[in-house]
Symmetry: C2
Subunit: 418 residues, 2 copies
């Protein structure tokens, strides 16, 4: 039991600083070194070094000068959107979605494959991922060598260092060496992580948690969990399994949960739990589509919009469970923002948000409640793909050495040149 303490090495810190500067440039361009130093809290000398490295890697580019009051004109840099491509893969229980991004995080191509029931063997899943990745590279028309990496979000517990999927409940996977299997079919560097972290980093970079130090991204879907942004970065835990909020006890000795415990948050707020909430209110409701979570949730959402009292009651019950659980997160973390994400949150939308806000207002302590905004995710596309792409970017910054990076990019550009 227990792991030896993990110390951040100088290299970790350099990578983190490089990543932070690039993230700032992506968020607000063009930017001067002075503005980047002010925004990141790094010294001007450190920023100048990091900007030089990013220029050398071809990830950013000089775009002119701005006058400064009484001083020399200041050089401005911006992200070089064409300086590389990133792939983000949302590997989910029932589908694989891949998106290819430029370095400014614009989507250049999308592909989706269905994962049918019975296709849960690792070989079949790997086949779908490889196929979707191949499609987006082809559709975007980028040279394969320009792809800096592919981030893959896996619906389970993944060891980032080894790329082994320790456990994926939906497929009953145990200790599947997923990265090695994927590497047999995909030549890009691969970075595996989970959807909670992908959603958290997507909100941090491009969504409701931009500029936040502390944020909680609550993912409501088939399973539920919480992506944690703490101190401006994503919290992963000592063995990469933080964020399993779905298995917090909410009702001691309550409904059985697939994790083996009882009364977990997920048993009341995951899509199957919401189907049970509906069954408790109205066992014969036509909104109940046995075996089809998506259709049931959609029917309930339509019912709420139409003022159907059963649907409204189920929404209120569900919001009470979600709200009691979120109150615990607000009291514990004292975050600036709680973001409701995931397909169930998207399906119910504003009525769920309103009801959850009401429930949190009744449960949480005054001081942390006053500090916390509760909002729906504003990200219009798949946040999991976006977040997964940023894992690839982070990985590329970690492994890039100035020389090799420059060569790789030059070579890619050469291949691509008209």
């Amino acid at each position: 039991m227990g792991a030896p303490p993990v110390k951040r090495t100088s290299r970790d810190i350099r990578t983190a600083n490089r990543y932070e500067v690039l993230r700032q440039i992506i968020a607000e361009s063009p930017a001067s070194r002075q503005e980047l130093a002010a925004a990141t809290g790094l010294s001007l000398a450190t920023v100048a070094t990091l900007v030089g490295e990013l220029l050398g890697l071809g990830m950013i580019t000089e775009v002119g000068f701005e006058e400064s009051a009484g001083g020399r004109p200041r050089g401005l840099v911006t992200v070089d959107a064409a300086g590389g491509a990133l792939i983000g893969v949302d590997l989910a229980e029932t589908y694989v979605r891949a998106e290819l991004f430029d370095l400014a995080l614009n989507v250049l191509a999308r592909a989706e494959e269905e994962v049918r029931p019975g296709e849960s063997r690792p070989e079949r899943v790997v086949h779908h991922v490889a196929s979707a990745v191949g499609s987006v590279v082809e559709r975007a028309g980028v040279a394969s060598a320009r792809v800096l990496g592919a981030g893959v979000s896996v619906p389970g517990q993944v060891d980032r260092a080894t790329g082994v999927c320790a456990y994926a409940p939906s497929w009953d996977w145990h200790d599947v060496p997923l990265r090695d299997l994927l590497a047999e079919r995909i030549s890009h560097p691969l970075y595996l992580d989970n959807p909670l972290r992908a959603c958290a980093v997507a909100e941090l970079w491009c969504g409701a948690a931009r500029g936040c130090g502390d944020a909680v991204v609550v993912n409501l879907g088939t399973g539920v969990g919480a992506g944690l942004v703490l101190g401006g970065g994503v919290h992963r835990g000592v063995s990469d399994s933080a964020g399993e909020w779905g298995h917090t006890t909410l009702v001691l000795d309550g409904r059985p949960c697939h994790c083996g415990a009882r009364g977990c948050v997920e048993a009341y707020t995951g899509a199957p739990g919401i189907m049970l909430n509906l069954r408790e209110v109205s066992p014969d409701s036509p909104m109940l589509r046995p075996g089809d979570q998506t259709a049931t949730v959609d029917a309930l959402a339509r019912g709420v919009a139409a003022g159907d009292p059963v649907a409204v009651r189920v929404l209120e019950d569900t919001a009470r469970y979600v709200g009691a659980g979120i109150s615990g997160l607000v009291n514990l973390f004292n975050p600036e923002v709680v973001v409701l994400s995931g397909w169930v949150a998207a399906a119910f939308g504003e009525p769920l948000l309103d009801a959850v806000r009401g429930a949190v207002g009744r449960h949480a302590l005054r001081r942390p409640l006053a500090a916390a905004r509760i909002v729906l995710s504003p990200i219009p596309t798949d946040p999991v793909c976006l977040g997964a792409a940023t894992f690839a970017l982070e990985g590329a910054l970690r492994t890039a050495r100035k020389g090799s990076g420059t060569r790789a990019v030059s070579r890619a550009r050469g291949t691509d040149a008209p």
Copy 2:
């Protein structure tokens, strides 16, 4: 609602690095600059600068050289225990305890004052704090000018920046300007915070969380809460109120809690909740001492030691509540260690630890469970005083400029010289 994003400034980062280097020197002395760089992940050049600053402030001292393989002998530094004094104050519901530490964090003097029922007015509480602080300075025989600051742990929600106690439930305080009131009686710089953070930092510096990146310090007393160590530092939240784990819903619609909600962890695991657990098992038990939490908990602990079945049952019930709650923390944070701290944990000791371990083993998910040690706090003295003293140290490092700091220490030494 919501606060503007707080960016770490260069100065914050310098203070944090200074603090980290000093903490490492206090933990392991003597140390070379090379060892400090390796242990902190900072560059050798940065460490050399910070060591120079700490030498200039008189907080550390050169103690000779060690041979290095094939290189120049390396200079060694150690903390200068006499380089300043720190005061830590544990302001609790029923007592005020002050301890005076040297810079190596050895206790040089202690003082305690009772806060009687009816003495909850701020003026009375301030009187006791000032009196205890005066006593430890006098008993330790240190010149007042050598005291770098006093950290004060307040049992409630404190705004660290303004020193205002927003809410202290036991005394029904609302928005009391406590630091200003204390400053009328105490001339040392004052740093206010809460006992959850004090216990967390005490475990991080000197206890079971030494060397840990992620740890949870569960405080079991009249109230319950969790001090959070995340990424190697104490997590405070956006308005300094993180850690209120006691008000996480454990039993939806369960026992009423003084916070206004129902079924909170604290309602089942705080000392008054444990008295209710006893009442449910045996309403007429002679172990039940109405109005006296401490006597009841002590009687239960003696009963457990003697094998009394009622006491054992109450311990098991309580451990089941504590364990279900801690499982949620293990699943959410994926920490290296969970430390049981506080007077209730100390009173029950090993039997509580064993029962909690069993309950967590039944509730938590396999992967985070495998990573988490669960232990009793090994700190033999009052961890709150120790933690509060480190807040004063951190504050002193933040405000110290090289010149002024050196002068202050020189002056203090001058005053003190034989």
